[in-house]
């Protein structure tokens, strides 16, 4: 008889159960600790990224969000409403916020240009973005898109400046009807409301087109009221 082994040796059932229990507890503590202790910093980073994306869609410098943007929430009828969360907090759960019928708007205080957040599905995972409209509330001033897991070189191209540069100057209304932007495979060739789709990224492009249309639809009433105001102001 040699030395008595701990729990009957490395390959006994008791040792295996003991080993896996200890391992799981240690790993769980490590993961929980890192996650909790870093949460605040991560959230701050994400919030800054969202602020920068909003001003970037307006073609402004990073970090200028707090000076230029006035944010509020509208309902489907286009009226400004009070909500429990701030418009920025809504961006963290845009799908849930849309389900409640609450739609955040980010307005450039100086110029009346507005930015709308978008959310949708690409091929593999979520895609999202921001569309900025000129003060006429029809022409796109700029657009920013990003994705969680589209294929690099294919669907992920929607996040490149080259792809996004196609959007400024496009209009989203045709004879008072909201049409959004068509993301056309094989080349838009200057057709109205259209941009070139990503080569090899057909599903992502379709997702993008649906995202733009579906999300902007929620702001249709808001946009029409504002457009009417713009027209009367000009008439005076």
């Amino acid at each position: 008889m040699g030395k008595k082994k701990f729990l009957g040796g490395k390959n006994s059932n008791a040792y295996i159960v003991f080993y896996s229990t200890v391992m799981v507890v240690i790993v769980a503590i490590m993961l929980a600790f890192t996650s909790l202790s870093l949460k605040d910093r991560q959230n701050a980073n994400e919030l800054n990224e969202k602020k920068d994306a909003i001003v970037a869609s307006l073609g402004l410098e990073k970090g200028s969000y707090d000076e230029v943007i006035e944010a509020y929430v509208v309902n489907k009828e286009g009226q400004v409403i009070e909500t429990a969360e701030t418009p920025l907090q809504k961006l963290f759960d845009l799908v849930g916020s849309h389900a409640k019928g609450e739609y955040p708007v980010f307005e450039n205080k100086a110029t009346g240009e507005v930015v709308f957040p978008l959310t949708g599905k690409g091929l593999w995972d979520d895609i999202w973005g921001y569309v900025a409209l000129e003060a006429d509330l029809n022409t796109i001033k700029g657009a920013i898109f990003d994705h969680a897991g589209e294929t690099p070189g294919l669907g992920a191209e929607i996040a490149t400046p080259k792809f996004q540069a196609q959007f400024p100057g496009q209009t989203i209304y045709e004879e008072g009807q909201l049409v959004g932007i068509y993301v056309v495979k094989g080349g838009a060739k200057g057709a109205a409301h259209s941009v070139d789709a990503v080569t090899g990224g057909t599903k992502t492009s379709e997702g993008l087109q649906n995202m733009i249309k579906n999300c902007l639809d929620n702001y249709d009433a808001f946009l029409k009221v504002r457009q009417a105001n713009v027209v009367t102001e000009n008439a005076e």
Partner: protein, 206 residues
């Protein structure tokens, strides 16, 4: 002895390359090589994860029960990647955004588990660490070659910068669309293996 330790670093670079000889990690070699930059990022990440998981599991090797060793390997690798990703997200947000797409691919990369299983569990920590680094670099090198060819001929660019001049396109040159699809990566891997085996006659099957 010293020489043998050193070999665990240099062997996987050519003679025992994980992609070319062991034919491991092919799946991610297809997924992230449409462009050079993600290929490079993926190569570096896998090198880091492979090195540290080899080190950690080599240190733990005498206590791990044989019957659940695969589960233990997976837990260590997944925990390591998750923690590193969390830290990056808090302190270098831009880098973490680049990597987030690959986190799942890194955890499930067969090279990492393959090396832990084949090497780290039966070797001392230092050679295991070097073996991890060597295999990571060997894998990354192949990825970079594939990424180079695919981005150059598929997009006409490298690292996102246009390389093939505009006048080529005006003269009728067209980017090769096949390069952007997975089969192109397989073809390129095949060609590299061919060249590699021609150069290393002892690897050829009889």
């Amino acid at each position: 002895m010293k020489n043998k330790t050193f070999q665990s670093l240099t062997n996987p670079l050519a003679k025992n390359n994980p992609v070319l000889v062991q034919i491991l990690g092919i799946c991610s070699a297809l997924a992230v090589t449409t462009q050079l930059k993600p290929a490079l990022v993926m190569g570096l990440s896998v090198t880091a994860v492979c090195a540290f998981s080899n080190l950690v599991l080599s240190l733990l090797r005498n206590g791990i029960p044989d019957r659940i060793r695969i589960i233990v390997q997976l837990v260590v690798i997944a925990a390591l990647v998750t923690i590193v990703n969390d830290v990056l997200k808090a302190y270098v947000y831009d880098v973490s955004k680049q990597l987030s797409v690959y986190v799942g691919l890194i955890i499930t990369n067969c090279i990492i588990m393959g090396r832990v299983e084949a090497f780290a569990l039966s070797n001392k920590p230092l050679p295991s660490l070097l073996d991890g680094i060597g295999n990571g670099i060997g894998y990354g090198a192949v990825l970079v070659i594939i990424g180079f060819v695919r981005e150059l001929f598929g997009n006409g660019s490298l690292f996102g910068y246009q390389i093939i001049p505009e006048c080529f396109y005006e003269a009728g040159y067209v980017n090769n669309g096949l390069m952007l699809f997975p089969p192109a990566a397989l073809i390129i891997v095949g060609v590299i293996i061919w060249v590699h085996r021609t150069a290393n006659k002892d690897l050829q099957e009889k």
